[in-house]
């Protein structure tokens, strides 16, 4: 009788070990790179952290499959390495010897990936589930490209500048003409010739090639 019990115990423990092994068909390999992510503030990976991992995964399974109550004992871990990698499998709470399908586990992890990462202060790159590619975040694409906005502002300013530059000498000339017509009415006849700085000098430039100033 005693031998039978012993044999049964051995068998059951053997069975219990079987679901989780490296390259299990329904299991996933996990790789953590805590020192890469956190540097000096890295925590040490120990039993407690492993417990948190199993609990987080149980949470993910619960969130995905609403009815079933997964527990920490449903997440079986094996083959830990100093690198901090290990394999895990998920057993169903309804049937402890049956494993949850790989696809279902994957979906559950994808849904709660963010929560799992934050529980460990890690990112998609430093907490890897080998075989589950992280969904890529699309680059932000605003509706109006920002460069068009800057373009509009700059062109508006430049256009205003051009108009100011073109119009201001016209305005000045108009004002000057008004002043000159006032002066002409006062003076008569000959203007002084010696003053070389006024435009009405003796040096007649009408034949010169140099005239380049705008005659607006």
């Amino acid at each position: 009788m005693l031998e039978k019990i012993l044999i049964l115990l051995c068998l059951s423990s053997a069975l219990a070990e079987q679901p989780c092994k490296p390259d299990a068909s329904d299991g996933y390999k996990v790789r953590l790179s805590i020192k890469t992510a956190l540097g000096d503030e890295a925590y040490v990976w120990n039993e407690n952290e492993m417990f948190l991992f199993r609990a987080t995964l149980a949470f993910a399974m619960r969130s995905h499959l609403n009815g079933q109550e997964f527990d920490v004992s449903n997440i079986i871990v094996c083959d830990e390495t100093p690198r901090v990698t290990f394999w895990f499998v998920v057993t169903s709470p309804l049937n402890t010897s049956g494993l949850v399908d790989k696809g279902v586990v994957e979906e559950a992890i994808r849904m709660s990936r963010n929560r799992i990462n934050s529980a460990f202060l890690l990112t998609d790159k430093t907490l890897e589930f080998i075989g589950i590619t992280p969904t890529l975040t699309a680059p932000v694409n605003p509706d109006t490209p920002p460069w068009l906005i800057v373009f509009g502002v700059v062109m508006g300013a430049v256009g205003a500048g051009i108009i100011v530059v073109l119009v201001s000498p016209l305005v000045l000339k108009k004002r000057k003409k008004n002043e000159e017509t006032d002066e002409d009415e006062e003076e008569t006849g000959v203007k002084a010739v010696e003053n070389g700085s006024t435009r009405e000098g003796v040096y007649n430039m009408s034949f010169s090639d140099d005239e380049r100033l705008t005659q607006m």
Binding site: R31, S33, I34, K35, T36, T81, P82, R83, V84, T85, L136, A138, P139, P146, W147, L148, V150, F151, V154, M155, V158, G159, G161, I162, V165, L166, G196, S197, G201, V202, Y203, N204, M205, F207, S208, D209, D210, E211, R212, L213, T214, Q215, M216
Partner: protein, 630 residues
């Protein structure tokens, strides 16, 4: 060598010293003038210091033996650059005209030189402003965080990155695809890229608003466009020196390799760089000097501007290579980190077991014990020297290498904005000189009515350049620009430069020129100027021209193409030009150069068959004016 070619009627065509003094006193002539000396110097410095100082000189320096390159550069600066500059300043100041006016005054047969200058200024201005359009595009795109060239877009079904981007890099993709949308050959024109057209329109309008009234407006603009680059370079130097790896870059740049001095192409490249860097033969410098007062010390100006130009080249090379050193170190660290990651994951070593220092030993050990696994990992060889020499010149430096360095720096948008504003100012001040070199000869040639104001000339030039420049906004636009850069801005300038020197020294006469300079600045030019003007500089220019010609003719003409299908992607692939390109090359390089003899011939024929016209022409000259006053 007192060779002087016969040149009848020279005195009738140019103002005498007496006339010049009178013009100076009466301030007559309604000719534009500089507000102060600083404006003139800043404008000339701005014209000379351009994009070439930032992205051509550092590359040449590093590829031709680093610190040793300074030796040919400085020697040729003194023997070729300074004499040419002094010559252009002096002749412009003396004859008080733009380039066509000056050469026509010296001899009507030389009008072709002025016309060639105008054509070259026009062609170079066309493609140079396209580079400005690219800079504006990048500048406008720098006002966002994260910068658009730091991320790859996702592909259509959002499973991964776009293939072209994943195979090359984010900066490559942004440059070749999102900016240029480049095609794979120069024949494949593609269509006009609307965003490039907008940027080109922006560039030309910005230039127009600054050049609208000649030096009255550019003189104000240069206070900013000529000084801002130095400020930004200093900021980048300070930032660069605080980054990891910058000292490696500077050491790489300046490590001398004396053997390179034996290589003739080092001297050739140094000479060509000095020549193009000084922006002589464009006609712009002659124009700028003609607005000076008659007794301005042009000798001092020439030496000063040459020194500033040389120093700016060296300074910007230091800054650029400090940033390149940072980028190379980052890439090296990333590469090494990647390899260590792969090793750690393959062999399940705990983290931080393999570090940068013991990486090589661990790899050697593992290669002996498990060679097959190591093979399977496909580790990349990380070599800092190869990252440092991925250097580049031209647009590749600014839009690929430097932008990549910027995204690795904290506060990237700030550095991007600063960098592109600096490039913009450098380019804009050079464009001022180009526009001057086109607009003033146009007015001198009297092709259009003289009553038209300067604004219209300037506007017409900008409009026509914009219309023709739309070719650079096609999908193949980058290849067209490289074509223009190689041929429009190289051989014709050398030919014009040589003709200028020959004309002033042997047709105008070195004796007359010496007396003019003595009149202007108070002492005769010393033996250094005599020797360089008469013998050394022309010889150097002939050498460079012949070598240039020979190297261009001997090698088969190819251009670099961005082609996803090619085997070496993302490295650019060399592809031969189609045969009709040779027509284009002839137009770009041949037409300006041939304008000189063609015009001389034309004037010769005109004189021979129509002697009456010759008499009418003299009525316009200054000697006639003097007689009329008496």
């Amino acid at each position: 060598m007192k060779l002087k070619l016969p040149n009848p009627g020279l005195d009738d065509r140019i103002p005498s010293h007496g006339d010049l003094e009178k013009m100076e006193k009466e301030e007559a002539g309604d000719r534009p003038k500089w507000d102060n000396k600083a404006q003139y110097l800043l404008t000339c410095v701005g014209f000379c210091v351009g994009l070439g100082n930032v992205w051509r000189f550092p590359y040449l320096c590093q590829s031709h033996g680093g610190g040793a390159f300074m030796i040919p550069f400085l020697i040729l600066l003194v023997l070729e650059g300074i004499p040419l500059l002094h010559l252009e300043f002096a002749i412009g100041q003396r004859l008080r005209k733009g380039s066509v006016g000056v050469w026509r005054s010296i001899s009507p047969y030389l009008t072709g030189v002025g016309i060639a200058s105008m054509l070259v200024s026009f062609l170079v201005g066309m493609y140079y402003n396209t580079i400005m359009a690219w800079i504006i595009w990048y500048l406008f795109n720098s006002f966002q965080d994260p910068l658009p060239w730091s991320q790859c877009p996702l592909n259509a079904n959002r499973t991964g990155l776009v293939e072209e981007c994943a195979r090359s890099s984010t900066v490559d993709y942004f440059w070749y695809r999102e900016t240029l949308n480049t095609s794979t050959a120069i024949d494949e024109a593609g269509g006009l890229q609307w965003w490039m057209v907008l940027s080109l329109v922006a560039a030309w309008i910005l230039l127009y608003v600054c050049c609208i009234r000649g030096i009255e407006t550019t003189g104000k603009a240069v206070y900013i466009t000529s000084t801002l680059p130095y400020l930004v370079l200093t900021i980048f130097l300070i930032r660069g020196l605080t980054l990891k790896g910058s000292i490696d870059g500077i050491k790489f740049l300046f490590t001398p390799d004396i053997n390179e001095l034996m290589n003739p192409s080092t001297w050739l490249d140094a000479g060509a760089q000095v020549f193009y860097s000084f922006s002589v033969a464009f006609g712009g410098l002659i124009s700028f000097s003609s607005y000076n007062s008659i007794h301005n010390n042009c000798e001092q100006d020439a030496v000063l501007i040459s020194i500033i130009n040389g120093c700016t080249s060296v300074y910007s090379a230091t800054v650029i290579y400090s940033i390149i050193g940072f980028r190379a170190t980052q890439k090296f660290d990333d590469c090494l980190g990647d390899n260590i990651w792969k090793l750690m994951n393959a062999f399940d070593y705990p983290e931080n077991n393999i570090t940068d220092s013991n990486y090589n030993e661990v790899l050697a050990h593992l290669n002996q014990t498990n060679p097959e696994i190591i093979q399977g990992l496909e580790l990349q060889t990380c070599d800092l020297q190869s990252f440092l020499s991925q250097g580049v010149e031209g647009t590749g430096l600014a839009f690929i290498v430097f932008t990549e360095a910027i995204i690795k720096m904290p506060f990237s948008p700030l550095w991007a904005v600063l960098f592109f504003v600096m490039l913009f100012c450098l380019g804009l001040s050079t464009m001022f000189g180009s526009i001057e070199g086109v607009v003033v000869p146009l007015q001198d040639l009297r092709l259009l009515p003289r009553t038209w104001p300067k604004e219209v000339f300037c506007g017409l030039t900008c409009l026509i350049s914009l219309a023709l420049g739309l070719i650079f906004t096609l999908r193949s636009g980058n290849y067209w620009l490289a074509l223009f850069d190689n041929f429009a801005g190289s051989i014709p300038l050398l030919v014009i430069g040589f003709c200028e020197m020959f004309a002033v020294i042997y047709i105008y006469g070195i004796d007359r020129f010496n007396k003019d300079i003595e009149f202007m600045i108070g002492h005769k030019p010393n033996i250094f100027w005599q020797v360089t003007w008469r013998v050394v500089s022309p010889l150097i220019m002939i050498f460079i021209l012949i070598f240039y010609f020979v190297t261009q003719i001997s090698k088969s003409l190819t251009y670099l193409v961005w082609d996803q299908e090619s085997e070496n992607f993302p490295t650019l692939e060399a592809r031969p030009y189609p045969s009709w390109i040779y027509v284009m090359i002839f137009i770009l390089a041949g037409v300006p150069s041939l304008a000189i003899p063609v015009f001389a011939l034309f004037k010769f024929i005109q004189n021979k068959c129509c002697k009456k016209d010759h008499n009418d022409y003299t009525v316009d000259t200054i000697s006639a004016k003097i007689q009329m006053k008496n």
